[in-house]
Amino acid sequence: MNEIVQSLINGALLGGVYGGLAMGLSLLLGVLRIVNLAHSAVLIFGALLYWQFVNGFGLDPLLMIAPVVLIAYLFGLGVHRGVTQYLTRESDSTVMLAFFGLMIILESIAIMIWTTDTKTVALGYLSGVIRIGDLNIPVSRVVAAAITLVVLVALHFFLTRTLTGSAIRGMAQNRDVAAMVGINVEKLSRRVFGAGIALAAFGGTVLSLVSSFSPQEHTRWLAWAFLVVILGGLGSAMRTLVAGIAVGIFETVVGLLIPFQYTYLALYALLAVALLIRNEGLGGIKQRTI
């Protein structure tokens, strides 16, 4: 019994982090219709940068999340200026090829700087375990999930309660009318793109608090993020969070039932099923027929 409660808690905490993992992908796909194939590469880059600050320079793990996210945001603005803005009128294939190229570039740079070794962030004062009865809950997991929760809730309120948030959602719904009411859609797009990249890097930092990682195997995180996006739909922070938690719980519960290494299989099966079932459900994503 306790084992089940334990894994539900673990799963929910892990799932919160998964929500953070997927948010950037969801935002770019939902608002800008960009398939960011480089999402997981940015994510790992963020994690490595974070690792560098914390392990390499011995800086405070909690305080270092913000600078990583800020650097990623600026990087995102740069990518928009250098790459994305040339792609606004191009076919999906061209966009995906360009972002695949970007993924390779980021991955190679990451390996050049940090090698392919698996990294683990030194948790320092976050390394304890909270004991409640028989339950053991790692502090780092609680902290990672809590930070993600705060960020996603803040994002949710930003998107739903502020005028700029309305403008972003309005732009996602109808770009022409958004321009008609005087919104500078180019500028707003650039910032949203920056935010999508920043959120990907943020996902990397919270991920590094709960898991070890290596620059080579980042696409597994793309799979996770993709699964969360498929389940949660696009552009909504709250639904992404809920979908993330669902995936986290699914993963840990399945992990109880079958050997650890096969949980991947179960998750991929879930992904395939989700794709088959939800192919109509994702508003605006399935290609319209005539």
Binding site: L87, S91, S93, S108, I109, L265, R288
Partner: protein, 354 residues
């Protein structure tokens, strides 16, 4: 009504694209006669043909890699190039073929020749499963799914004891071959497969099937309205491509003598294949052939040159290779859409206004 405006928007965008293309074309080169591309291909194969016997071991191996890439890339290009459905999981199909062949060889001592057909079938079977799950969806989803599939394949094979787990499988070619003899054998096997794949690509490009694929990549809904069975066409293209990948993978398994999961199911192959097609030209059957030559030679040069560079006294790490390839992909995707072949062979007619 929303649907009408959407169509209008599409049309407007298409017309802009068309206009740009027309402009590019009128500024472009004169149209080459139809026989130029086949002639180039025949010339390339004719030049390569005797090389297996002439060149040294290292050079033969390099050329073998060119041919290996040609086979996979021609297969990839059917759906990815003509159909516009990018596949970032080329390693999955080639790897399936490689593992099928290696398993049949190590377990049942099947020969290279005997494993070819089962390897092609196994890869085609995997592609069917992938295709059924994703090809009815937009090309986005297909692309992401194939990208993450490589990792799944890696995990599955790693945990499959019969396939050697993380250790991998050894293969053995029957008969007594010198190392040079073996190199020549693989060279000519892949030479044959490369010709096969190129001929298939040629016929697909000039067949109804090819037109259907291009119609899908340009305007899938319109193709559907004209009666094109889009899902079936895409599935067939994926299947043929996967089978070619499986064949190449099988030969590769014998070629290297040993395969293991991490090397087989890595994104490197996917990158190389995408790069081959993008650099060569995704809308031409000649593209993958030319692209393979360029990419493999480029990689060789990088491999030799880069470690010897000492810029500002720094050692340049080996990953620079991939960095350069990534930058190249980005540049071609942004600015040289039609690849090298597109630069020389323009499909062009007169611009006439009524």
């Amino acid at each position: 009504m929303a649907e009408t405006t959407d169509l209008d928007k599409d049309a407007k965008r298409n017309s802009d694209v068309a206009l740009a293309q027309a402009k590019a074309a009128s500024a472009g080169v004169r149209k080459a006669p139809w026989w130029v591309t086949p002639l180039v291909a025949v010339a390339i194969f004719a030049i390569i043909a005797p090389m297996g016997g002439i060149l040294g071991l290292g050079a033969v191996t390099t050329l073998t890699t060119v041919l290996y890439y040609t086979v996979i890339a021609q297969g990839w290009n059917l759906l990815g190039g003509y159909g516009g459905y990018l596949n970032f999981g080329a390693a999955v199909f080639a790897g399936t073929g490689a593992y099928t062949a290696a398993w049949l060889n190590s377990e049942f001592e099947w020969t290279l020749w005997q494993t070819l057909i089962p390897a092609a079938f196994a890869a085609a079977f995997v592609s069917l499963i992938v295709g059924f799950a994703t090809l009815r969806l937009r090309s986005h989803y297909f692309a992401i799914f194939t990208l993450v599939l490589t990792f799944l394949a890696l995990v599955v094979v790693k945990n499959w004891p019969a396939l050697g787990g993380a250790i991998g499988l050894f293969t053995d070619v029957e008969g007594d071959f010198s190392s040079r003899g073996l190199a020549i054998l693989f060279f000519y096997v892949l030479f044959g497969l490369a010709i096969l794949a190129t001929v298939i690509a040629y016929f697909v490009e000039h067949s109804n099937f090819g037109y259907a694929l291009r119609a899908i990549s340009e305007d899938e809904p319109a193709a559907q309205v004209l009666g094109v069975k889009t899902t079936s066409v895409k599935l067939r293209a994926l299947l043929i491509g996967a089978a070619l990948g499986g064949l190449a993978g099988a030969v590769y398994a014998f070629f290297t003598g040993y395969i293991e999961p991490a090397g087989t199911f890595s994104l490197d192959l996917a990158l190389d294949i995408v790069l081959v097609c993008v650099i060569g030209g995704m809308r031409s059957w000649l593209g993958p052939l030319i692209g393979s030559i360029i990419v493999v030679l480029l990689e060789q040069i990088l491999r030799v040159v880069v470690p010897n560079l000492h810029l500002f006294g720094l050692d340049i790490p080996a990953e620079t290779n991939r960095l350069v390839l990534g930058v190249l992909l980005l540049i071609f995707a942004l600015f040289i859409r039609r690849g090298v072949v597109g630069l020389f062979v323009q499909r062009r007619g007169r611009v006439v206004s009524v």
